[in-house]
Symmetry: C2
Subunit: 792 residues, 2 copies
């Protein structure tokens, strides 16, 4: 059990536990990503140029996308240090696995720029610290051990970095004494000649190098473990390791360092671990990182902090909710930055993910967002259709789910663009000329997007509803319309919303109404009408109509009776009137609300429904099958603010953001918003609320947008910064720092008796029309916002 989980600025400390969760944090740079959990397990990927691994588990692994709720097991990849008392033979391991010795003290300290562990056992204090360089795919580990006892100690330290079973063709491992490194080699098998040439970019080597030479080493996993097993390896029971060479057997990287420590004395060791093309590269890394390691590692920390500082975002908050503040101020922009900076370590991000992740970059590096729109629209087809994924590198290919056709990608163009335009005012982008994937013809960005809107308009059936084909935003709803007939209510509403938004953007850009804009608005209304005519299901909107003509997600369904998205987007698109809104809110509250957030659908499917598809095969309460799916929750909250339900919206928002209590409740540290929390609350109450532990999600950009646009109401516009907060009614004060187009605004919100309308002052002068337009980059402004008592 976790005894405590305290917030100390950006640090989270997990005190001495008798049993540890699988919670952890992650670090990344442009070349790699590592997810390290508090027990010592780790999952790492690097770009070569597609994401690959440099260590694996003990069996041949399937190649797949990042898994939620990753299962860990004794031989799971990780980074471990065994510490043996040479006098007594007593053994423990840091941070915790594989020995799992009872520890006198344990701290897992997640900072934005490093992950550390502090472990005390047998009167030895061990600290581990993992850092990454900003541009190299290398893990930098600092190990230190301090003698806390009254006696001199004679100990052996054994870093154990398992490499795993990576190839049935050829694996080896040996110690290179020139490099002070265990160097393991793994050949990627190929059967077709063409694959051989593709594989040439792969890194064959994985190495663990130290600043000093090892006293002994072992590179054979099986001989290391022996009959003692991982928790008490046979090799460690001997005075020295066997200096074994791994020849076509599972390799591992283990070294022994014999250390003598007087009372109070400590020793440090520095290691680098990662993939390499050849030993010259390892040698180069060694010079770069391990000559003068202590100083270099310190610099790495500073450089990484400087790198993170580029992603600090535009918002700092001080509110009546300290946990909310802690996440927003220390972690939220970091997660935004991760998504926008490395595109989830893929070379073919799904178009919708790419656009939404880059929507988030509007608040961090708007030029990145601009480039992303340019790249995405240059890969549009001249029919207006957007591809399923955006290729980021030469030679990249559409993989996995991107080989299945989805119908919603065009929708995200105006939706995401709006955030960029609001934040930057860069309407000039709309006039940039771009080609198509299948045509050299240059059209402006706004013509590209209009084509996309026409494609959405045309991709509808005789009822005026949008075809779903093999999926919309909900990938795994892949059999609703695969025969070319089924339609999506969500997509129809999202199309209506997109067309309306696009018309507004054009209006703002052109300052005039063109016939095309009238047409788009008309079509949007027709879409809303069609949904109302065919898919209003008494108290909520259904989810779609299948190829067989079955309207689904209605009272008639036992499972998948109600979906969240059609309701949220009916509010955004304007399809729902006030009467409907009341019914919908009640239905959502009764059927989808849980103590852990709002479920995406309910009840979760427990068996395959062939006319819906893959989602119905998923376990109830996970991913898209009735989980508290954060992305859908964000749409819900965004739409609640849209219809003025600020208190309900904030209540739901707080449930989505990670909190200290998550440690107990969801098994997660409050460092990131996961893609989902387990739902199916009425079906599997014991499991509900658990975190997926997966930080890849289109969600975080939306929450950031919600905070700016809606909660704190500091949205940009062509003219300036619009102040239009929707604070929860129980907040009497709040203060934020908002960066906007180079200026800094300190904004104090306060509720006041005696006023009925919001009042805004900049440096004590009242502001007209709630919009701060008279400001200059580089300046700092004091803004006061007076709000009536109790108003949402």
């Amino acid at each position: 059990m976790i005894l405590d989980c305290q917030s100390q600025g950006a640090k989270y400390v997990l005190k001495s536990p008798t049993s540890l969760p699988n919670a952890g944090g992650f670090l990344w740079n442009q070349q790699m990503l590592i997810q390290a959990n508090c027990r010592g397990y780790a999952i790492a990927q690097f770009m070569q140029p597609d994401a690959g691994k440099y260590v694996s588990g003990p069996a041949l692994e399937a190649k797949t996308f990042m898994q939620p709720e990753q299962p860990y097991y004794a031989n799971h990849p990780g980074r471990f240090f065994y510490i043996k008392d040479n006098a007594t033979g007593e053994l423990f391991s840091a941070p915790y696995e594989p020995v799992r010795a009872p520890l006198a003290r344990f701290e897992f300290i997640n900072e934005a720029h490093q992950i550390s562990w502090l472990v005390e056992c047998q009167q030895l204090r061990v600290t581990l610290c993992l850092r990454l360089p900003t541009e190299t795919a290398i893990e930098c580990w600092q190990f230190s051990v301090e003698n806390l006892s009254d006696n001199a100690r004679d100990i052996s330290v054994y870093p154990y970095f398992p490499i795993g079973y990576r190839s049935w063709m050829n694996q080896s491992g040996q110690y290179n004494s020139e490099l002070n490194a265990v160097v393991c080699r793994s050949i990627e098998p190929y059967q077709k000649v063409a694959d051989y040439f593709k594989n040439q970019s792969l890194h064959e080597l994985t190495f663990l190098a130290c600043e000093r030479s090892a006293d002994s080493w072992e590179t054979r996993q099986h001989e290391f473990e022996g009959e003692g097993g991982l928790h008490n390896p046979s090799a460690i029971q001997n005075t020295t390791l066997a200096n074994g060479q791994a020849n076509y057997c599972t390799p591992t990287a283990v070294m022994q360092f014999k250390l003598k420590l007087n009372q109070g004395q400590s020793e440090k060791l520095h290691f680098i671990f990662g993939p390499a093309k050849n030993s010259e590269q390892i040698s180069k890394y060694k010079k770069q990182f391990l000559n003068n390691a202590e100083q270099t590692f310190a610099q790495l920390g500073e450089q990484y902090q400087a790198y993170l500082a580029q992603g600090e975002g535009v918002l700092q908050v001080s509110t009546p909710e300290p946990e909310f503040d802690a996440y927003v101020n220390h972690w939220m922009a970091r997660q935004l930055y991760y998504h926008g900076d490395v595109n989830r370590l893929t070379t073919d991000p799904q178009t919708r993910n790419y656009l939404q992740d880059n929507m988030g970059m509007s608040y961090i590096k708007p030029t990145t967002t601009r480039d992303a729109f340019v790249r995405a629209l240059s890969q549009q087809k001249s029919t207006g259709e957007m591809p399923d994924g955006i290729l980021l590198t030469a030679g990249a290919e559409l993989k996995y789910i991107n080989q299945v056709p989805h119908t919603d990608h065009c929708v995200w163009l105006p939706i995401c663009l709006q955030a960029y335009l609001d934040e930057t005012g860069d309407y000039a982008l709309l006039d940039s000329l771009l080609p198509f994937s299948d045509s050299e013809q240059l059209l402006s960005v706004s013509e590209h997007i209009s084509l996309a809107m026409h494609w959405l308009d045309k991709s509808r059936d005789e009822r005026g509803l949008s075809y779903i084909n093999q999926g919309d935003w909900c990938d795994p709803m892949n059999m609703v319309g695969y025969q070319g007939k089924g339609v999506s209510v969500w997509l129809s509403l999202a199309s209506a919303y997109a067309l309306k938004l696009w018309t507004q953007i054009l209006q703002e850009h052109l300052g005039t109404t063109k016939p095309e804009m009238v047409f788009f608005n008309q079509q949007a209304e027709l879409m809303n009408q069609a949904v109302n005519q065919h898919c209003w299901a008494d108290s909520w909107f259904a989810r779609g109509i299948t190829d067989a003509g079955r309207v689904f997600a209605t009272q008639a369904d036992k499972e998948g009776k109600i979906f969240l998205n059609p309701q949220s987007w009916a509010w955004l698109s304007g399809a729902a009137d006030a009467r409907q809104t009341g019914l919908m809110l009640t239905a959502i509250e009764q059927q989808l609300h849980t103590p852990y957030g709002v479920m995406m659908l309910a009840p979760g499917y427990t068996a395959m429904v062939e006319d819906i598809g893959r989602v119905t095969q998923k376990f109830p309460g996970t991913a898209e099958n009735g989980s508290v799916y954060n992305h859908a929750s964000a749409f819900y909250i965004y739409s609640l603010y849209h219809i003025g339900q600020a208190d309900l919206a904030f209540e739901q928002l707080l449930k989505m953001l990670p909190k200290q209590q998550d440690m107990l409740q969801r098994g997660q540290l409050p460092l990131f918003i996961p893609n989902y929390y387990r739902g199916a609350y009425y079906q599997f109450p014991d499991e509900a609320g658990k975190s997926s532990q997966l930080f890849n999600t289109g969600t975080v950009a939306w929450y950031y947008r919600i905070l700016l646009e809606q909660l704190f109401g500091v949205r940009g516009s062509k003219k300036g910064l619009i102040i239009k907060p929707q604070l929860p009614s129980h907040w009497n004060t709040a203060t934020i720092q908002r960066r906007f187009r180079g200026a800094l605004f300190t904004i104090e919100y306060q509720r006041m008796v005696g006023i009925t309308e919001q009042q805004v002052f900049v440096d004590n002068s009242p502001v007209e029309a709630q919009c701060i337009s008279d400001f200059s980059a580089g300046n700092h402004y004091q803004v006061t916002v007076n709000l009536p008592i109790g108003l949402q």
Copy 2:
């Protein structure tokens, strides 16, 4: 260390070890295959209709073919029983993993029809016995425990059958009290709609059922292990298990049975474990196998022995080599039968494997061989070319390596057919009419094979050498000729041999010489000449000429200097003259012979050679890169007998066949011929000789053929049984039983002074022309073969 490994008839006993190897045995039926090792680990596959698994490791596994030198690790799939003394809490597990407690006694008993373990620990004797039904994909486990102590004992028995991480989409597990079974469910994920329909044949359930109801159970792997770990599971430290239900987490099958045993008392439990489509099927299995389980399990053993008896083969021997006799009499035909009966559990066997495995069936069920020829030739293209794999079921597809074009498949038609015709005399087969894969035109088997011979003749370059394309018999030599220019010496010689053989078969069949036969013989001679002209490399034949025109496997090469196959087949094809033969024998002895057998090539490649291909990426000494590759060794031995080198041939033969000493030397029980033993003897001497532990190999049919045709010289022919032994010169006597076309021959060989030529007597009457043609099915004949002293 292994203390002893005794042969007791068909049983192999491994006495109390302090450390166990990974050696094991295998059982199969038409539906499944299980490889169980002495530690308790297991690998199982079943047909649905392609080979699939019903348990996995703890991480998502890649789908791949059966791996040699399979790496085992703590969480590797297996079948285990924990036994806890409820009074003291003391724990051990049978057979050995995962607790690895020191055992007072350990026996691993491999019989042809069952695999058993006997374990003594804490004064309890546990025996485990695994049997299979003959036609169902179900494991039948009998567990028994006997109290050896002087006191009454109160114990808990926990079968632990891990299911593993089989799906990121949906996994669950629960105890079904009606079935007394843990039932786990796993959904095969799909992303493309078409795959959904393909997946419908898959079995979603894995279950462990017992004849009696469990006292408690656990179905969650993680909760079962807890912080105690697999070697000391937390769940077992409690009085009862938590009766947990697995919801979207790695499931496991664990039950607790509380047993009270008086002094000397024993208890038995029967379990069935395997895949199922639904609970009705489990219920049916339970009725079938667990009602009256003791008797049913006994019947299973008898039925399985009856099933094996159908594959007993045609040879029993008694020679001066008892270990040789043990393998040949108890195990050899079994391995032959396995290959021919289940085609390595694939639905698309490689054509060459299919033909050779079915060549072996000539000695067991010749009608199966006949059917296989009919099926294979019906899939021939009308150009004469054979496909890369033979499809066995409707809906089967060419997979993996069968998607890469290879050039040798036609060669095996006459070579394998000859064995069938010799054994059966069924020349009528040659007149059967068959279609082609791309044409309904019916041609006779002999016309089909002649077309194949013409295809071989035409698939040659301007020098008259056979194109290798992306590989010949050696799959991974895939880049020698992928540009369409490179040629194979082995394939040129094998083509020459095939054409000559085919001419002989036609001659025998027709009794006359037709122009086509003359043509084939002429072309065969031209092939031999071309090889001699372009590829004789001073003292041996090279292996080929690459696309770039480089003759390789000559003195000029540092690695891959000499290959075994071109030499062996030059002898078979008649390309080598006496002078060359002497040089070749010397080169082979100097460069390829090792104490563990003859290597396929040497030195093993240590780095990629692009104009040769994949084989050069393999680890030296493994599979085709310089291992003692048993299939190539068989060709070598066959060819040595062919040129009258009987003593050398037998010396090599003995090295290939598994022996008791293999337990120590190669980590393998002497139950089957593996596909290879590690080679690279001069490069990695410490590793040389180790067994691949993989029993899938085209080898065993050849060794059987060698024993019959060459060593004991009891080859069939159109006219009858030809007696032409090539006993090693140091054997003075030997006796065999040879079944042949329904008759039984007891043949006694004896060396005699005073004779210079072989003499054969049947029931004391001399035999003309060494051929026993006057015999009748159902009769038993006594044959005496007198041989001159010392003649090979």
